[in-house]
Symmetry: C2
Amino acid sequence: MDTALPPVNHQHVAFDDGFVLECGVALKRLVVAYRTYGRLNADRSNAVLVCHALTGDQYVAETHPVTGKPGWWEMVVAPGAPIDTDRYFVICANVLGGCMGSTGPLSPRDDQEVATPWGTDFPPVSIGDMVRAQKRLVEHLGITRLFAVVGGSMGGMQVLEWAATFPEMVFAAVPVATAAYHTAQNIAFHEVGRQAILADPDWQGGRYWESGRIPARGLAVARMAAHITYLSEEALSRKFGRRLRPGPNLAHGGLTMFGEMFEVESYLQYQGSTFVQRFDANSYLTITRAMDQFDLIAEHGGDLSRAFAGTRTRFCLVSFSSDWLFPTAQSRAIARALNRAAANVSFVEITSDKGHDAFLLDEPDFHRTLAGFLGGCAEHAGLPA
Amino acid sequence: MDTALPPVNHQHVAFDDGFVLECGVALKRLVVAYRTYGRLNADRSNAVLVCHALTGDQYVAETHPVTGKPGWWEMVVAPGAPIDTDRYFVICANVLGGCMGSTGPLSPRDDQEVATPWGTDFPPVSIGDMVRAQKRLVEHLGITRLFAVVGGSMGGMQVLEWAATFPEMVFAAVPVATAAYHTAQNIAFHEVGRQAILADPDWQGGRYWESGRIPARGLAVARMAAHITYLSEEALSRKFGRRLRPGPNLAHGGLTMFGEMFEVESYLQYQGSTFVQRFDANSYLTITRAMDQFDLIAEHGGDLSRAFAGTRTRFCLVSFSSDWLFPTAQSRAIARALNRAAANVSFVEITSDKGHDAFLLDEPDFHRTLAGFLGGCAEHAGLPA
């Protein structure tokens, strides 16, 4: 399969009995790539499923095989960390539609004689589809109940979906920096990114593997636009302000003044250019679409509390004060719905100026909250300390 | 000159004695395209200069010659309106670097034998350059003092620059929805737009007039990203929410689910596609760069009050509560600096859920504020009612 991503044999499980998507398409084969950390205990009661965000993947707590960088949540998932791998068995699966080994647009299509990649013919998937794919993995691992499901941003959407769809399988749920539906503004930002990809002639109608040229510039612009939404105005001002650095001395003078550029420009360009080395453009289209479609309120007749009626799951909702992509009001609305459903729920807004990205960063208050909640739940669940 | 913009003979004045830009480049010729409304009184004391925003132009209060749409501020500039054309003589000039007739990247370059357009070789311009070009026009019209200078967003930057640089020429100043400097977040959003343009192969290093193909897709993406920042989350939710409409039934199924798209996506795509019919990509690069460079605080040694020391100009600052691009805090900082300079200043935050765009929309509170302030100033200036 000729793609821009380096070939890595990701740990995975393949289900050859098919998988029917919400859109009605039946995949003949479902591959779920995943990683685990820690040890499953004898009664299989200590499993924590971590759900990753839009551009995350299963390499939570180890060096990434493509980028060589540390895992995206090494501060949270480690021995002695809030999700303590000495105590819990941590599972993370690459989402359905992703590009790190799970079935997605890079996978060979299974509806034709000749196996070319799905590309943009890959059927639309939903957050619900992602969760049902994870459930197949969890069952494959012999686990009938997850001690906890934890995730931020799109990962938080999966946590909510898990709790709403398979409540008996979720003892504790931690939806972080997330929402029960994607707002018009969030959809709009995603659409800018998609249009940037579609505008790149190297996208080639999504069949870019044929030429070996990927829509790197469009995908980089998409990443840049998204990246701004992950940061707060305060964080950008603090990190970069209006500081200048030497810029490319371009022939076209209109682009630089006195041969300088702003540091924030250089930073964004770097974010865009490194992203395309680890992410597939068609996956980006597929997964952003899944997020946009997510609406747990509409799915339950306009009343989110119905999604959680009778639930015995313990919830801990976390938001960050400067997150304008998934603002606190969105978490508060979920907390209210859970209250209406008489659920066991705690809700913490962490004061931070780091914006949406805070859930990935060194936020001691958040980490203490997570550790405390999971520790309390573990006691109630009778997990040995 | 082969460009995508239809040829229109914009009303203009040409200065053939040259114009030295802040960057040091000396233009041999300066053309300022402009429109006026109302009548200049006998002692030339009733002139109001309106300064337009990034993608605005001089067609304030009349049908636009390219788009055929109404002027962008017809609600504000008209007989009996807040900027009453029965009372005031209103001038609006296309900014230096623009694409509606003033000297800019579409103009023939004057530093070579063969007159091709400047394109991206057009030198970088500043907000200060724009204002000095307007000053040439104002003087050409025989006006030595403007009764008022009014503008929103980048227009507001020009108002501040006018008041700081030529205080004796400005009796009253109304900077609306603006800031004394462009923040890191605002620069970041502009950079996404610029990268989208540069990523379009039809940009062709800025020499797109040679092939006759303009970077329409890149410019459309830039416009889409910017447009989101002009609206508030509330406005987007109210206008579009998560409403669906029939979408293109694309072969690539991953792009639509059940053949539908969100209304907000369709709206943004429309905004992008119509923008490219009236705006030049190189102008967009030049003008966004001018905005990014604007920093009246740094220019005055870190103390904005020095920009206005001893001023006798009367100021009315206006912000809108849901404007997150130029938030109220930015206007408040200007008001405080003016207070430190012992200036005559009033500051009004208009409650609105329409975001930055509110300054262009039907906001009765804003219009009443503007009318009242100008009326009071006119009395002080001794203008006949």
